[in-house]
């Protein structure tokens, strides 16, 4: 199957008048309305059932169930170190779960043969936290990379496609720069252009807002939202930036300690009466998640033997 076949280019139909802000390739026989109907809005694209994962003695996920609905932006939130990135890698088939299954578009990701998995990956894009751009290639060549690897397109067409994708993230002028010359936000936008190069059906964002200044943050929020709408994508955003994520997500899962501790629309979660979710969303420094890492009693730790308190009782506060 050619990677372009589910989103064919009709040169006569493009560019159109009144194009949306982001110029992208729209399948000619699908109006945007038709596409909305085409995505079975209540059917899930990814469903995770009974997923457990860990390494060594450390359990990262314990019997997690998740559904990612088609055409929606689903956010997966939780404190750092809860394995949100690991979850994306499990969905992408880069890691193998100990138990449970990940179904993507009706296929069990971890039961596929190697080349079937690679075929499936052409349908998904992933935006890594660092951008993961190839440092020895220019911005242009980075964005062209998936096309050059997977299609026999002539160079002139590659050029057109790459410039269109770069235009859609606002970086057409940066095509000759090397990744080292880009700011963090720009690198992520280039990576985003590269991730949509093969017109995937799903995009996964790994901490897209971390370490961004307010302007790049705003740009990324807008891009994620607009791309999802215009390309008819399904997006999974893994993040702990509550405000930005809640602003664009259709559905939010909150995970902590290897389990889903809450889910719902952003509005519903904001009204949640769970103290844990409340603390997370409000960003309160103390609450069910304590400010202190577990430690011995402070007084005993400081004064200990000197104060004549030999063998302090093992007390975890």
């Amino acid at each position: 199957m050619s990677p372009l076949s589910h989103n064919q280019v009709d040169s006569a139909a493009w560019p159109r008048q009144n194009e949306p802000l982001i110029p992208i390739l729209i399948p000619p026989d699908y109006s945007r309305e038709a596409m909305r109907h085409d995505v079975h809005s209540d059917e899930s694209l990814v469903s995770i059932r009974g997923l457990s994962y860990g390494y060594g003695a450390r359990v990262i996920f314990d019997d997690v169930n998740l559904d990612i609905r088609r055409g929606k932006i689903t956010a997966i939130m939780g404190p750092s170190g809860t394995g949100k990135t690991t979850l994306l890698r499990l969905i992408g088939g880069q890691l193998r779960p100990m138990k449970g299954a990940v179904m993507l578009d009706g296929e069990d990701v971890h039961a596929l043969r190697r080349h079937e998995l690679y075929q499936l990956r052409k349908k998904m894009g992933m935006l890594f936290q660092s951008g993961a751009l190839l440092t020895d290639l220019t911005v242009f060549d980075n964005v062209a990379f998936p096309l050059r690897e997977h299609t026999p397109l002539p160079e002139s067409m590659i050029r057109t496609l790459v410039l269109m994708k770069l235009e859609s993230v606002g970086l057409r002028g940066a095509r000759d720069l090397f990744p080292a010359e880009l700011s963090g936000g720009m690198a992520r936008r280039v990576a985003l252009a590269r991730a949509i190069m093969l017109d995937p059906m799903m995009l996964m964002y790994d901490e897209p807002f971390t370490g961004q200044d307010p302007i790049s943050m705003g740009i990324l929020v807008k891009l994620i939202h607009d791309l999802n709408k215009e390309l008819g994508l399904t997006s999974i955003v893994v993040s702990h930036d509550v405000k930005e994520t809640m602003a664009i997500a259709d559905w939010v899962y909150v995970i902590s300690g290897g389990r889903v501790v809450g889910e719902g629309t952003p509005e519903a979660l904001a009204l949640s009466d769970s103290p844990w979710i409340h603390q997370f969303i409000e960003g309160a420094p103390d609450g069910p998640v304590p400010f202190h890492y577990p430690a011995e009693d402070y007084r005993l730790d400081l004064l200990g033997p000197a104060a004549g308190l030999e063998s302090p009782p093992k007390q975890i506060c």
């Binding site: 890698r89 992408g92 880069q94 690679y118 075929q119 990956r121 052409k122 998904m124 894009g125 992933m126 890594f128 936290q129 660092s130 993961a132 751009l133 190839l134 440092t135 990379f145 998936p146 690897e149 997977h150 990576a191 590269r194 093969l198």
Partner: protein, 259 residues
């Protein structure tokens, strides 16, 4: 005492696991060969970085090693009045031993360490994972070209080292020490056998090429993806290469010249 045996057992198991991983890794890298046949440009680019950029180092080192061999050899040979065999001595030691071995050691220091660091950093910056998610197999697309470039470059570099070394020996032996240049060349021509010497040297350098490049790319791929992890992997790459080259050189020499 018990903990000693425990840690001994653990490190043995870990070493065996790593050995197993490295072999699966090598087989996987081999599957990149058809891709390189289709797109030889990928290979050529790496032959340039791995091989061509090492030429300078190899030539200069070869020249000095050849000159030193001539100086030392002349000292010994002149005691027996056999100065005219200097050409054979220099050429035989270079073709059989020093060419492949010293080239492999220099190659691992110059190109091997660079490969390990490069691949380790690509891993640390998620470039390899990013490629996987773009449905491009990083082992076939980035590691196979580097591996085959190394395997291809090593024998060529060893040949260059040997040739430059012989010229260095000629400069010192004939130019400086006054050995007659007729016997210098004619004895070399008569005594250096194609099959016994040149071919065996070629096999050695090919084997060393596989060993050094394999270790280099595997250590990079297996590195802990942090700054410290990559630095350790680079050190290991050079150290393991040196051990493996010298050890396998002994085995190969015993097989080739041992009877």
């Amino acid at each position: 005492m018990l903990t000693f045996f425990q840690s001994l057992g653990r490190s043995t198991l870990e070493a065996l696991q790593k050995l197993g991983r490295s072999q699966i890794f090598l087989l996987h890298v081999m599957t990149g060969l058809p891709l390189l046949m289709r797109r030889p440009r990928l290979l050529l680019k790496e032959v340039y970085t791995v091989g061509v950029l090492t030429i300078m180092l190899i030539s200069v080192s070869g020249l000095f090693v050849g000159m030193v061999l001539a100086l030392q050899g002349y000292n010994v040979l002149s005691d027996f009045g056999a100065e005219e065999s200097l050409g054979v001595m220099v050429a035989a030691s270079l073709v059989r031993e020093l060419g492949p071995v010293v080239t492999a050691l220099l190659f691992s220091g110059r190109a091997g360490s660079a490969l390990t660091a490069e691949i380790g950093l690509m891993k640390a910056t998620e470039q390899l994972a990013g490629m996987e998610m773009m449905a491009v197999d990083p082992l076939q697309r980035t590691i196979a070209p580097r591996f085959f470039a190394g395997v291809l470059s090593m024998p060529l570099l060893a040949g260059l080292f040997t040739a430059v070394g012989v010229i260095g020996g000629y400069f010192i032996g004939v130019g400086l020490l006054g050995v007659d240049h007729g016997p210098f060349w004619s004895q070399m021509q008569a005594k250096i056998d194609f099959e016994d010497d040149a071919l065996n040297g070629l096999i050695k350098s090919l084997v060393f090429g596989v060993i050094v490049t394999w270790i280099a790319v595997f250590e990079g791929y297996d590195a802990v993806p942090t700054a410290e992890g990559v630095s350790r992997a680079t050190t290991r790459s050079v150290v393991y290469s040196a051990f493996a080259v010298l050890g396998s050189d002994f085995l190969l020499t015993a097989l080739m010249f041992g009877d």
